[in-house]
């Protein structure tokens, strides 16, 4: 049974976002009339190349970067792989990588399997996090060695929204002559970023997390940072990434970045207020519920709440009955049999980890939607707790 867009209350924006109407409008001409190849010699193609470069500038503006530092890719995962593999190939004599225990699988699984790609063994330091999901900077400093090829630390965590001090970490890394990559897929568009004032070498972003389409990503490569391409081929992206440009999506991403810059204040005021209302409301109306992640050092749109003694998939499916879309870190939804690696790294007890729900908002959410969710959730949790053999003895 299909669910229509107008029926849903979409609070799963860290998974993906709707394409902004302005973004789609900007894209349409490049899906219809202006189909030329940006690399062509003729004006019909060349003008598309100009539009691509205008989008490149819009993206650079949001990031505080130069247009020449923007490399288009197919997704956040490709950007992550490109950056990390470039760094380890640049320093073949180094065999140490520093990352965290809470990275997205795009970084986590790559770091686990570096040997497969390079044929060399790597020692990987995975920095632990505190109970509130934050990193210990001292411990980070101590992890760096002369053997370290790259540090890859996410800007903001996708599950909890907790923000890491990547600007400071990049500075420390730079002093040691080590490359620094950040997976900023969740951060871009939600919090202000000014790369010109940082020492970050590589930054990954993904279009579909900020109201552009799926299938477009960016790798920011700082001017002067050594770079080895992941996809070899034509001269596109100045030889940094072969393959004909995904023109319409690039145009869309440019427009989305411009919109994000325009809406940054709203994201950090109205959306934050909605998130806070949702979070406070849930925590106060539902007993034995708790917030996962630092209260303030966090993205404005994300709330990760655990409802103890009930299981996340069951909660999500009841929410689904009301067309409320969210995510869970429970085992049953993670595709494995264990709950989220992020919550486990934070030491969230099993009683809570299995019952965690992530609500992630966007500028399209309304207060009425938050009110509806607040009115609906207590009954769902209560119904499941009646079923739970652990509830009576722990309530």
């Amino acid at each position: 049974m299909a669910v229509l867009p107008e029926q849903v209350i979409y609070m799963d924006n860290n998974a993906t976002t709707r394409i902004a109407p302005e973004v789609l409008d900007a894209m349409m001409p490049y899906l219809t009339q202006f189909y030329g190849n940006p690399s062509s010699m003729h004006t019909f193609g060349g003008q598309v190349g100009q539009a691509v470069n205008q989008a490149r500038q819009q993206i650079a503006d949001l990031l505080g970067a130069q247009a020449s530092e923007i490399v288009f890719t197919s997704c956040g995962t490709e950007s992550d792989s490109t950056a990390i593999l470039s760094a380890v190939q640049t320093y073949p004599e180094k065999n140490h990588v520093v990352t965290t225990k809470v990275e997205h699988p795009a970084v986590k699984n790559l770091c686990d399997n570096l040997e497969t790609f390079t044929g060399r063994k790597y020692h990987t330091t995975r920095l632990p996090v505190a109970d509130d999901g934050t990193l210990d900077l001292q411990r980070f400093k101590e992890s760096l060695t002369d053997d370290t090829a790259i540090v890859s630390v996410m800007w903001a965590n996708n599950e909890t929204g907790v923000i890491f001090p990547v600007e400071e970490m990049a500075r420390i890394t730079k002093e040691r002559g080590i490359l620094f990559h950040t997976d900023a897929v969740q951060a871009v568009g939600k919090i202000p970023i000014n790369l010109a004032e940082t020492a970050i070498d590589f930054l990954s972003l993904s279009g579909h997390k900020l109201h552009a389409p799926k299938g477009i990503g960016v790798l920011y490569v700082r001017k002067g940072t050594p770079f080895i391409p992941f996809l070899n081929g034509g001269h596109q992206e100045h030889g940094r990434r072969g393959g004909t440009e995904n023109v319409a999506s690039i145009i869309g991403l440019g427009q989305a970045c411009k919109l994000a810059a325009d809406k940054m204040a709203e994201e950090n005021t109205r959306v934050r207020a909605l998130r806070d209302k949702l979070e406070k409301g849930l925590l106060s109306s539902i007993p034995k519920s708790l917030r996962n992640g630092h209260p303030t050092q966090r993205l404005p749109n994300t709330a990760n709440i655990s409802f103890e003694y009930v299981e996340g998939e069951a909660i999500l499916l009841h929410m689904n009955q009301h067309h409320i879309c969210a995510s869970s870190g429970s085992a049953c939804t993670s595709g494995s049999l264990e709950p989220s690696h992020v919550l486990r790294a934070m030491g969230v007890p099993f009683t809570a980890a299995h019952g965690s729900i992530r609500f992630s908002l966007s500028i399209y959410n309304t207060e009425a939607e938050v009110d509806f969710v607040l009115a609906t959730m207590p009954a769902i949790i209560a119904k499941l707790r009646v079923l739970s053999p652990f509830w009576e003895e722990n309530k």
């Binding site: 299981e311 069951a314 429970s330 049953c332 494995s336 099993f350 299995h354 739970s388 053999p389």
Partner: protein, 278 residues
Amino acid sequence: MWEYTDKVQEHFINPRNVGEIENADGVGNVGSIACGDALRLTIKVDENQVITDAKFKTFGCASAIASSSMLTEMLKGMKLEDAKKLTNDDIAKALGGLPKEKMHCSVMGREALEAAIADYTGAILPMAQGEVVCECFGVTDLEIIRAIRENSLVSVEEITNFTKAGGGCGKCEGKLRALLAETVEGLPAQPLGIAKKKRMTTLEKIKKIEEVIEREIRPTLKKDDGDIRLIDVDGDFVTVSLRGACAGCHSSRTTLKEYVEKKLREQVSDSLIVEEDK
């Protein structure tokens, strides 16, 4: 998103027989909160050895709740003797099937039933006496061997789907493989189903396909005056030509998909796609 049957969804949204029977004759507690699912089953048994009432409390996902609900519905009015014979597959079938990754939910139902019956009869549960193989989920060798036998499991992945063993840190994978080899007669020490990690080379694949064709497929087709020839193997795409009476037979497509492809998938690799060279 899991694809649950209407029956699973219905039992999940409107679970039957929720709660605990006061002064129950038998109580079965299985699973734990750390494992992500747990079930407490209480039953009432009358003097004729018939289960007159069954109630459950479950912590877990939709399929765990639906399996528990269905189990209690099946048990009410059932003779104890019959209840002892109930398998996890009976529960799954009654729900119209479960996603394969969720079969352990039906196994949990059966385990709770056994525990409740053992509690009633005063017997000691044999399954709990085994040696723990999977430490993450506390699964014993006896439980694993039983799941392999009752459900004809052939791979470590299937063991994980049915018992959760191996689904955590994965350190017990070797032990699971050994148990599988010991339990399943005629299964090579490296069972086919777990060839997932160590991929076959194309050469190995061609050799195996040829073997299966020679040993099983051709003799069967010959009985109907048909014949088969292997033309090409490209990745998972296997091209064959059907000859003799098979060529032009209006059911040759069925022979190809239902017999040839099925056999090759069973014995070589379950991702093979067989097409006819025309």
